[in-house]
């Protein structure tokens, strides 16, 4: 088992390098280089060349790549091309909003959805199951901003509970204050992951519940509660952890839309600004950051399914 996990981690590290190459190529090799963007209207052949030299853009691509990797690993993230501010500073101002909102979403949304999913699987075909399944199917295939619009209409417009946009950040707020301040984004994100998570948890538990060993447990006269807690859940934990990690990974694209929708400043809005101003340094750093989180979550998902396999946990 350990060798498989190590192997998987190794693949994860290789993937990160592959991703860094993709992002580097995506941003540096394609037309319109950083010098041109930085100088904008003032660009002339001579000062472009000088500026390229200053930024090191005249070096061959692979040299640029390795120096970028070296700088990034040593913590030097470079300077934003659009605003001349170190990228580190830009991130420092905003990462907390994104991090806290996602963390609160995970803390509230994940257990709730898993519970709802398990409940749906316990009484398949029942009225509760059908309602939950219908709602989650609808939410899965509807765009994130549709959900956000509905929430705004309901909570901000009719109940006057909160405002349609979020002003200010998490700085100096307690958990409850954050919860209230970011009520709509957190609610929206919770529902986005819930839609997938409920469905997939339900499927994972149902899959176990229809296995011959659960039928055997029924025929042994094992009480329903014990069948679920000892026989079914025990085998479903691996798939469920897998599903949770996958859904937290999906959350990344949800975060991008929701931050823009509610117009509060976080890393995702920063990334979108970066794309709009073609701020390559910023895009590279943030792109790597989001992708690394994604890869790590995927890695956790894979390790969960390795660890949950009894054949690998207790080898012959």
């Amino acid at each position: 088992m350990w060798s498989m996990i190590l192997r998987r981690i190794g693949i994860g590290i290789v993937t990160m390098f592959a991703v860094s190459v993709i992002i580097f190529c995506g941003t540096r090799i394609l037309p319109g280089d950083a010098a041109q963007i930085r100088l904008g209207q003032e660009a002339t052949e001579t000062n472009l060349a000088a500026f390229r030299k200053e930024l090191g853009l005249d070096r061959p691509a692979h040299v640029q790549y390795f120096s970028w990797v070296k700088d990034t690993l040593s913590g030097d993230l470079g300077v934003s091309l659009a605003s001349d501010v170190p990228v580190t500073d830009l991130i420092r101002d905003r990462y907390k909003n994104t991090l806290y909102v996602s963390a609160v979403t995970a803390v509230i949304g994940v257990p709730l959805s898993v519970l709802l999913g398990i409940l749906a699987a316990m009484f398949p075909g029942g009225i509760y199951d059908r309602v939950v399944t219908f709602i989650s199917v609808t939410l899965v295939s509807a765009p994130e901003f549709f959900l956000a619009t509905l929430l705004v209409l309901i909570f901000a417009f009719y109940f006057n509970f909160t405002s349609a946009v979020v002003v200010g950040g998490v700085e100096g707020k307690t958990f409850l204050e954050i919860l209230r301040h970011f009520f709509l984004p957190i609610m929206a994100l919770c529902m986005i992951i819930a839609a997938q998570l409920i469905r997939m948890t339900r499927a994972a538990v149902l899959n176990v519940m229809s296995s011959p060993y659960v039928e055997m447990a029924i025929l042994k006269g094992v009480p329903r509660k014990r069948i679920i807690m000892r026989h079914a859940l025990f085998n479903a934990i691996g798939p469920i952890v897998n599903v949770i990690a996958l859904n937290l990974a999906y959350l990344i694209s949800g975060v991008v839309i929701i931050e823009v929708f509610f117009a509060y400043s976080g890393l995702a809005t920063l990334m979108v600004q970066g794309v709009q101003t073609r701020d390559y340094n910023l895009i590279q750093v943030l792109g790597m950051l989001f992708c690394c989180v994604y890869i790590i979550l995927m890695l956790i998902a894979d390790i969960a399914s390795i660890v949950s396999n009894p054949r690998l946990r207790h080898p012959r």
Partner: protein, 326 residues
Amino acid sequence: MSDSTKTATDVADDEIDFQELYDAAPRQKFRFSWTGWIGVIVVTFWFLIAILGPFIAPYGENDLPYPDAYSEFQVPTAKALLGTDVDDRDILSRIIYGAGRTIGISLAATILAYLVGVSLGVTAAVSGRWIDMGLSRVNDAFLSLPTIMLGLVVIAAVGSSLTVLIFTAGLIYATIVFRISRALAMDIMVQDYVEAARARGEGLWWIIRKEIWPNAAMPMISDFGLRLIYVILFVAGLSFLGLGVQPPAADWGNMVRENLGALQHVPYEACPYPKNAAGEDNWLCGIGTKFAVLAPALAISTLTVSINLIVDDLSSYAGGKLTKGM
């Protein structure tokens, strides 16, 4: 071989009384459930709108129903059935024009994704270990990026245009199609009937065409629907972020973005009569001014949810082999 009938009867005599029992009911013909029919109706409706758009829209996509007045977020009236948007334009006409663009781009991108994904996926499945390994590894690297990030990076590099959108979305989703079609083809390749065809000496092309394709078609069609949903959401998402279809061209995603202001404050002119003649609240003033955001969001949702209803029917018939999470 002329005596074959004679011997057949010799043996048949002890098989008269007890027929072999069938172990499974024969396969049923495909039928839509009632939810499936709703899906078919709604999807057909939107596709018709997309095709006929310019002929049925009451206004051009950038025309103003009230050219002489300041009419931002106007509530619905006979002149503008869904009201007006942030730039005083007719929402209904923009939805109709947007339908063609949103559906057209997504459909083109999904078809591209399928052309690229399926041809590479089947190639990987039927050819030797090294080609398969190479293709799969490269594909894995792309799959390990969140789609929206990949989209952002590409658009940052080359800017946004219709062609770029179609190719970006098409190639990003080709990675997933590759994985699915490869898995499906691999699955069918090891079936005994393919083995039987190989043992007979059939060529690779014949095997793909006659043995694999008829069995892969149904799951692939249902996956195509699913992929179309994700591509629509992806393109709408990019447009919503201001990185997809560029204004003033109408697209359901960028309509939501442009009109987000309607959710916060609405000018007095939008609803000059908050009370009706009887002195009650005019309900249109509540929801009517929000149509600018609600209508395009609802349009996308009805389209994607309806496609999903169709896909549900198709995939339960095809055996649900493809997981929806992929």
